[in-house]
């Protein structure tokens, strides 16, 4: 039997396959298709201090092997998350991380400290990289100073696993990664979506209500893989890779590039069972290659 378990710092996962925030709801949306307990973990929807209605429709556009979204962090807010949703999902026998978003440092801090009290939430993923809301989010993720500041502030109030999710819309992601590491992050996840745009030539209008939106799916995989490799080379904390992962080979590539675990996002829309197929496929790869533990793959890229 091959060993699929990995440790992202204090976070012990039964396997390295998590679901990406904003693409898996609260897990329950996929219960008809997957035994949620089989997953390494789920990262639930972006959660903010106050409820958010999100952006106007239209919020999506298909692009070549990808999609743009402009959901804009529609969510019920952290209080209703705690009172209504948490009780229903805490029973899952998998690691549930909450993706925390905000417009000000105080927002992040207050939301994180509320989640700190939830016994069955072993960690948060700090989203300093959402391109779809005007008032902030991504702004924190594109400068070293602000990325470090928000991390440091949340670190003070949040005692469990603190994962920080990086924006790919930057000149030098390794530099941002090092700042966030200095700020006290336990791990880094990347990439969030690339800022993109779609136009309808017929109506001569932008497709999205917000004009620009976030690109995800297989199209972004080469960029994501490059950034994961750069970041993994630049920091000591574990890295969680994502961006276009659609099958076991993709997942293995990210781990070779240095990811300790991976997240699957957009591919869930195409195949709601993709997560368990990836887990199965990774297991087969290890067996075929006589590798006892998946941990041997982490950063095992041969560059000689």
């Amino acid at each position: 039997m091959v060993d699929l378990s990995v440790e992202i710092g204090s976070l012990k996962l039964k396997n390295p396959v998590l679901t990406a925030s904003g693409t898996y709801g609260y897990g329950r949306e996929y219960e008809d298709f997957v035994n949620i307990d089989d997953l390494g973990g789920i990262v639930v929807k972006g959660t903010t201090l106050k409820p958010r209605e999100g952006n106007d429709y239209p919020r999506m556009a298909e692009t070549p092997m990808g999609m743009l979204n402009a959901v804009g962090l529609q969510n019920v807010g952290v209080d209703r998350f705690i009172s209504e949703i948490y009780p229903k999902i805490r029973k899952y026998n998998t690691s549930i991380l909450v993706n925390v978003s905000g417009s000000t440092i105080d927002d992040y801090v207050e939301t994180a400290s509320k989640i700190n009290d939830l016994d069955d939430i072993p960690g948060i993923e700090l989203n300093i990289s959402c391109p779809n809301v005007k008032e902030g989010g991504m702004a924190f993720g594109v400068s070293c100073a602000s990325a470090e500041a928000v991390t440091t502030a949340v670190r003070k109030v949040y005692s469990k696993h603190l994962m920080v999710k990086l924006s790919p819309n930057v000149t030098d992601i390794a530099e941002i990664a090092r700042s966030v590491e200095s700020g006290g992050a336990d791990s880094l996840s990347l990439i969030n979506t690339l800022l993109g745009m779609a136009i309808d030539a017929k109506t001569r209008r932008p497709v999205l209500s917000t004009i620009t939106g976030g690109l995800s799916g297989p199209a972004v995989k080469p960029v994501a893989l490059r950034m994961v490799w750069q970041v993994a080379c630049a920091v000591k904390v574990p890295v969680v890779g994502m961006g276009g992962i659609s099958n076991a080979t993709d997942a293995i590539e990210f781990m070779l590039a240095g990811a300790t675990a991976i997240q699957i996002g957009t591919a869930n829309f195409v195949d709601p069972q993709v997560t368990v197929k990836v887990i199965e496929g990774v297991k087969n790869y290890l067996e075929e290659n006589n590798i006892a533990s998946i941990r041997e793959l982490i950063g095992a890229l041969r560059c000689d």
């Binding site: 949306e29 999100g54 919020r59 070549p64 990808g66 529609q74 709601p272």
Partner: protein
């Protein structure tokens, strides 16, 4: 309960230059219960640059033959890809999705379809009939050729038609048809599916005459199962997902 299944395409029948009907058979599994207004998220096989699934209404269900039908208007890459699929090949569906049309409180109904919006109304008519309610149709199209599958609808009930060029039926849009131009409509419940502008006019008409009106929206969707929040429409309670809270809504609930 939602399912993900591979169906066998037992026939792919062209209706006109832009409509096809796919008949899909369940092989190796039982068709689950489906209700009219529900839809499927269909994976377009082998088409480069069609990445996401495409939402399509359940057009008809035949439990005896274990078959369902999809009525598809070819508007872009995905639907054209579906139109070119050979009989015998497999098609992957996530289904049945969304909230269905619900039964009316009294028997006088009018089912109004425009464009590919006629698709769910065949299954709906059959369902109403099975519940002792006689469906009556009002179907609009651009021209005579755009009216597809009329025989199937006629088997279920009276069919009134409008065409924009007047080539068949009343000239104009559905709202120009005599059944809707009277101040004393002889129906109490409207079921409609079609372009938003058409449905908005119909919803206003229903309001004015105190009729109930169930509309089925066709918003752009990525997941179809409530996970991505891309398909929202404005309602009295804020943004709601069309794929899970709809596609069928009471028109009064919408703020579109």
């Amino acid at each position: 309960m939602k399912y993900i299944h591979d169906f066998r395409i037992v026939s792919n029948q062209r209706q006109n230059y832009e409509y096809i009907v796919l008949t899909l058979r369940a092989e190796g599994f039982e068709l689950p219960e489906m209700l009219p207004g529900q839809f499927a998220e269909v994976r377009v096989p082998n088409e480069s640059s069609v990445y996401l699934r495409r939402p399509l209404s359940i057009h008809d269900v035949d439990y005896e033959r274990q078959e369902i039908k999809l009525l598809i208007q070819e508007v872009g890459k995905g639907t054209k890809g579906l139109g070119s699929l050979p009989e015998g090949s497999l098609l992957n569906l996530i289904y049945p999705l969304g909230k269905p049309y619900t039964l009316p409180e009294s028997n006088e109904v009018l089912l109004i379809g425009g464009g590919c919006g006629v698709a769910p109304l065949l299954f709906l008519g059959r369902y109403l009939k099975n519940h002792g309610i006689q469906p009556r149709y009002l179907i609009g199209a651009r021209n005579a050729e755009g009216l597809v599958r009329l025989e199937a609808y006629r088997e279920l009930g009276e069919v009134n038609v409008t065409t924009e060029d007047g080539s068949v039926g009343t000239k104009g849009y559905v709202i120009h048809h005599p059944v809707m131009r009277t101040e004393t409509p002889d129906f109490r419940h409207i079921y409609t599916c079609g372009p938003d502008p058409m449905m908005k006019v119909i919803a206003k008409y229903a309001d004015r005459h105190g009729l109930s009106c169930q509309v089925s929206l066709e918003n752009l969707m990525a997941c179809g199962i409530g996970a991505c929040l891309c398909c929202v429409t404005k309602t009295k309670d804020g943004n709601k997902c069309v794929c899970t809270e709809g596609p069928v809504f009471d028109s009064k609930y919408l703020q579109w």
